[in-house]
Symmetry: C2
Subunit: 134 residues, 2 copies
């Protein structure tokens, strides 16, 4: 994990579909050498995968929210519930504090948020934060 590896990770974080040849040029290596280093970063588990950044608004999910969840009773009903809400759930983080989660979601409109919260209410207490900007 030297400077060049950091440079490589930085380039890949900006565009992971870059060719190894181009990546090599950016970090002053041949395509081979760059490719070898990337392979090693993958083997070591430093690189876990490659993904795409999708514009959620254009996909029909313009509303982005975080929900601070507090559950005093069993967690299972909550966890089962969010599994049924697949398209809306982005991340469910277990956080410090008893029975606490931070739930990141996307919705087509505020009406959908409302509907979701009505169902969520049956399994957990929550505090809603709507994302205005990044």
């Amino acid at each position: 994990m030297d400077r060049t590896d950091h440079h490589i990770l930085n380039e890949l974080s900006q565009n992971s579909r870059i060719t190894m040849k181009e990546l090599g040029e950016k970090v002053h290596l041949t395509g081979q050498a760059a490719s070898d280093r990337v392979a090693k970063l993958e083997e070591n588990g430093v690189i876990e995968g490659y993904s795409v950044n999708v514009n959620n608004a254009k996909m029909g999910y313009p509303v982005h929210v975080f929900l601070h969840i507090i559950i005093h009773t069993a967690h299972k009903p909550y966890l089962s519930f969010i599994e049924t809400q697949q398209p809306y759930i982005m991340n469910n983080y277990r956080i410090s504090g008893d029975g606490c989660y931070l739930l990141e979601c996307k919705f087509p409109s505020h009406e959908y948020v409302d509907t979701f919260l009505k169902s969520l209410q049956e399994h957990a207490n929550y505090k809603l934060s709507i994302v205005i900007n990044k």
Copy 2:
């Protein structure tokens, strides 16, 4: 944005470095057709970019936290401060509520969190949530 486009985005979200030929096979198209569709998704702004998933723990940042920020006075000191904290900041979301942000950070250890919070204290009030699991 038909079923095939959704299928393409799903495949790319799992592995954006897949070849167009392979992607085509997965969605029952030729490599060209897949490539054309991806190009169109990029033009339309549905695809905003391609990135890499890095294991933060292996990069020396095993501690992952969210900070709920509330600022009653000017925001600028806070915003300037977090710009100086580059390596630790993952995301700074502007959220609903006056003077509120949700700040996502990574740290090498709890000591670093402590040091960071001591400085943050000078610009804003916060509530700390440490991520245990995803």
